[in-house]
């Protein structure tokens, strides 16, 4: 364990050329996605008008343990991957802990997060199928930017429905997407039926992610050469994100490092699922005893306080039903909630792993998250996204526990993105204006009441 550098980069020749499919390693699969019209498992035909064929194949694939990454996707991955696996020596010194802390940093690409890992293959497969346009939605803009980058590279038409209030508050996020050639439409808009309907009812609305999703899906359905793409939650997104964990595993193996625990923030869950993929697959085969910890905000506690039930993936209640830990599609996070991780549900694979006891979950309050982040930022130099700070908060708690017990545990966490686009939250923290919110059981009732009867 000596001479481990600050950052481990893989050589290009060492990089993974396949994604890993967790579902092929699960003894018991998550319950299938249901078509809400029939209440029967979704078929490829059900999904074909919305998603492109190859992604549907991946979505439903629970057989193949590994799936080849196409060469054009590797050509793009090689421009920004491998991401560094960082040994947090300076943070360890600051915390005076015997623990060894590692983090995998996904923020060093222009989109600023791990989302790009799935945007690239999604656009590539659409292009390969002869699709000429794709649509998607974006809130804060990270997924929209990732899609704009992928579409700029593959020369594909992209329409991004951006939540109107975000488009107004973050004009530069819109400018980045446009620089890559994307068309950005503030949502609700008059380009879709659902948008026109909402605008006529609420002409002053700032929009919502649920509405933007509905517009993007409707737009994709209008045109046979157009498909919709989604950045989280689904199985095929989890598959693509396995690149994070695979690179991490190769990097650790090079230096003979075995993590004792792996920690990640969980909103939709695709980043955490991707980070843990190779390790949890080993665990499912009885080959390791690593602890896996999902960290979520106390204000949006889908794993720690949600129900394991079938629910819609979107607030507009238009998607197939997913079996997952959920607060109900009617749950709305408190307005003082900073950053992402505000999704009502959770990746169905992670939900199943949690349900079966392979995954732990912890909910943390945002003011404590930002206080930990301040220490991290000054010691390690990198400004992370608030989402990522949830993971580092728990990693630091564990490292501090090691200081108390004297154990030299190896702690790995995922640092999913840059904080450049969340400075309003940092500013609120710096100025002492950040508050916490923990919903009461009564606060959660309306969300649970919105769960469909299955």
């Amino acid at each position: 364990m000596t001479n481990i550098p600050y950052k481990i980069y893989l050589e290009e020749s060492e990089m993974p050329r396949q994604w890993q499919n967790i579902r092929a390693f699960m003894k018991e699969l998550p319950d299938p996605m249901l078509n809400p019209a029939t209440m029967k498992p979704c078929t490829a035909e059900d999904l074909a008008p919305v998603f492109c064929d190859k992604l549907i194949e991946q979505e439903l694939n629970d057989i193949d343990p590994y799936i080849d990454i196409p060469q054009p996707v590797l050509d793009f991955y090689h421009m920004y991957r491998p991401s560094p696996l960082v040994r947090a020596y300076n943070l360890e010194r600051e915390l005076n802990t015997p623990a060894h802390i590692y983090y995998k940093f996904e923020g060093n690409n222009t989109s600023g997060s791990h989302k790009l890992n799935s945007a690239v293959p999604q656009v590539y497969y659409a292009k390969e199928q002869g699709i000429t346009q794709v649509t998607t939605e974006t809130g804060a803009g990270q997924w929209g930017t990732a899609m704009a980058m992928a579409c700029g590279f593959f020369k594909m038409d992209l329409t991004v429905y951006m939540v109107k209030v975000s488009a107004e508050q973050k004009p530069y996020r819109k400018a980045i997407m446009e620089t890559y050639g994307a068309k950005v439409i503030p949502s609700p808009s008059n380009t879709t039926e659902v948008g026109r309907k909402i605008l006529s009812q609420y002409p002053e609305t700032g929009g919502s992610l649920g509405c933007a999703i509905s517009e993007a899906v409707e737009k994709a359905r209008q045109n046979d050469n157009c498909r919709y793409v989604l950045g989280s939650v689904l199985n095929h997104v989890t598959l693509h994100q396995s690149i994070i964990g695979l690179e991490t595993q190769i990097a650790l193996d090079k230096y003979g490092i075995q993590p004792d625990m792996i920690i990640g923030c969980a909103g939709g869950g695709s980043n955490l699922a991707g980070l843990i993929t190779p390790f949890i697959c080993q665990r499912l085969q009885g080959k390791n005893n690593i602890r896996f910890i999902a960290v979520e905000p106390a204000s949006c506690p889908s794993l720690t306080r949600g129900r394991y039930a079938y629910d819609f993936g979107d607030t507009g209640r238009t998607t197939p039903l997913l079996k997952m830990y959920t607060l109900g599609s009617g749950f709305i996070p408190s307005p003082n909630h900073a950053g992402g991780l505000r999704y009502h549900g959770m990746n169905p694979i992670l939900s199943k792993l949690y349900h079966d006891g392979y995954l732990e979950a912890r909910a943390v309050e945002q003011s404590k998250v930002f206080a930990a982040a301040q220490t991290f930022i000054r010691a390690e130099g990198t400004l992370p996204a608030p989402e990522s700070c949830h993971a580092l908060k728990v990693a630091m708690d564990e490292a501090i526990r090691c200081r108390e017990t004297g154990e030299a545990k190896t702690i790995l966490f995922g640092l999913t993105g840059t904080g450049y686009f969340d400075l309003a939250a940092y500013q609120a923290f710096n100025e002492g204006k950040m508050t916490d919110y923990i919903p009461t059981d009564a606060d959660l009732q309306p969300g649970f009441a919105s769960l469909p009867q299955v």
Copy 2:
């Protein structure tokens, strides 16, 4: 030349442990810095009230070819360095050129540029001397952010005088600096005599970089435990930036790559000087025949149209006199000028190399720069700072020339920073609102008239 990866990262053990001092390799040194009060060469004593001792020693050192990088500086460098040397395969394909294009990307750290390379040692040396506070100025915020990161790490008090109009237009840049613990004061302020004087004369002023420098220097002079730090132009900054070129040289040597030309943008010049350091030192010894090209905006053409003369380093005319190519400290770039590279002068080392014929210079118009950037961005996925786009414009011109001549030249350029903080300029370009400005000879006269009589 086969099997060159998309990105070359050095192993930590391969990284430079010394900076290289160009001046020790020059047959003829640049003319010395003059004290404007005496018109004699500046001594260490002249500079001691403003700069810390070790930096003055480096500033005046024209003997030692290599200078050790202190271990605490390496501890910080290792968190964000090496920066990647990227082979632009996708850009080459897009341009259909036989040229081999490489760029060294310095934007993957939170400050967003190469400036951090000098901020870290400057803060370290101040701390080592027992200094407890440092002051500096910042315009757009890259240098201020780099200083905030370095001071956060070394636990040093930092006061940043930020041009008031920038502080108001870029509140999040202020928030980043504050997150690292810096105190940010919009300039002009009532914390200094010069600030109070300007405020009483022009209460509505948005401030200027010249004024912010004057405030930061005055603040440093007020207190014996305080020193001022500067991010460009000076010899010690050039020394620290040599890390860029040294890493590049090691990476190229690993794969047996010999560049035919090295291209960099030049504002104050420290980035370009740093990039070319080991290569120009070889050239000065007759060991290579590389072409070195400085690229500057047509609207601020200090090398291509300036005078080689002694001039003040700041618009406030308070600094020592530097012999350099200059448009005169009274020169003010046109308001339509996007991004940085708006400095009236040029690094004295580069000025001397240009004067002696070792360096070429080219001036380019910004609308053409952004048009080239659009192609680069979509092919290579990375959004660069407008400054950096000046270098890529000329690199792409040279690559297109290779397409015409059939020559497979090896072109290396410096991509100094991220474009995250310059999206207003990209937006103007996307919306067709960007204009060019080439000063007439008459336009340059007031600047030249401001040159001191030496």
